[in-house]
């Protein structure tokens, strides 16, 4: 979370993540640079009309916020949302990118970085095969 000066998340995503026992729940609740903002139905509709992909509420709200705040980076692990973000002209990255960035900036050591990547495979709901994570770890080890 320290990789970014400020992180904005929409209410819907906050509600989805902040369920007791969910991965990331504690971190999202306790991180000071996270701001939760609401978006209106009208705003969501405007953004929704600009993309040709069907997205869930949380992703749509997040993209709507990006659009309103004109942020540089849209963070998501949803592949369709990733494509939609690019369609709207945002730079899009996911958990793997954030973890790699934190490692590069020295916020976490290699051991913790590897564990965080492995957790993406074993704990998160992200669709990712072990082979993909192993490739990412190899890249990190070569850095």
């Amino acid at each position: 979370m320290k990789v970014f000066t400020k992180i904005y998340i929409p209410e819907r995503v906050y509600e989805e993540v902040c369920v007791e026992g969910m991965p990331g729940e504690r971190e999202v609740r306790s991180t000071e640079n996270i701001e939760v903002l609401s978006v209106s139905k009208e705003e969501i509709e405007k953004v929704s009309n600009k993309i040709d992909l069907k997205l869930d509420d949380g992703e749509l709200q997040a993209l709507t916020l990006c659009n309103r705040l004109k942020v540089e980076i849209f963070l998501t692990d949803d592949l369709d949302a990733r494509d939609a973000g690019k369609q709207l002209g945002f730079e899009v990255h996911g958990s793997v990118g954030v973890i790699a960035r934190a490692y590069r900036e020295g916020s976490i050591d290699l051991k913790r970085t590897k564990r965080a990547l492995e957790d993406l495979y074993s704990i998160s709901k992200l669709f990712v095969t072990k082979a993909i994570i192993e490739d990412a770890i190899k890249e990190l080890e070569m850095f």
């Binding site: 793997v96 990118g97 934190a102 095969t129 082979a131 490739d135 990190l140």
Partner: protein, 83 residues
């Protein structure tokens, strides 16, 4: 995490009007199928089988999903380390 799983298990059993053992048996069956698919996708991503073989074994949709996920991860690693 274990608490969440246990709670979900109990909720599902109640909702589906099935006993917990049946839910677990189904979960194992579904889990094994998922691991089979993942093993095939890993073989494909490691270039041990061709794309055509992978499609024959798990279907186009999953192969395309794995390719998209691989591309996203590689893009992220590149940005994270060098971007």
């Amino acid at each position: 995490m274990e608490d969440v799983v246990l709670r979900e298990l109990e909720t599902l059993a109640k909702e589906r009007k099935e006993d917990v053992a049946t839910i677990i048996a189904n979960a194992v069956k579904i889990g094994i199928e998922k691991i089979r698919q993942e093993t095939i996708l890993e073989r494909y991503l490691k270039k041990l089988i061709t794309r055509e073989e992978a499609i024959k074994l798990v279907g186009t949709e999953l192969v395309k999903l794995a390719e998209r996920q691989r591309d996203a991860v590689l893009e992220d690693v590149e940005w994270g380390l060098h971007g």
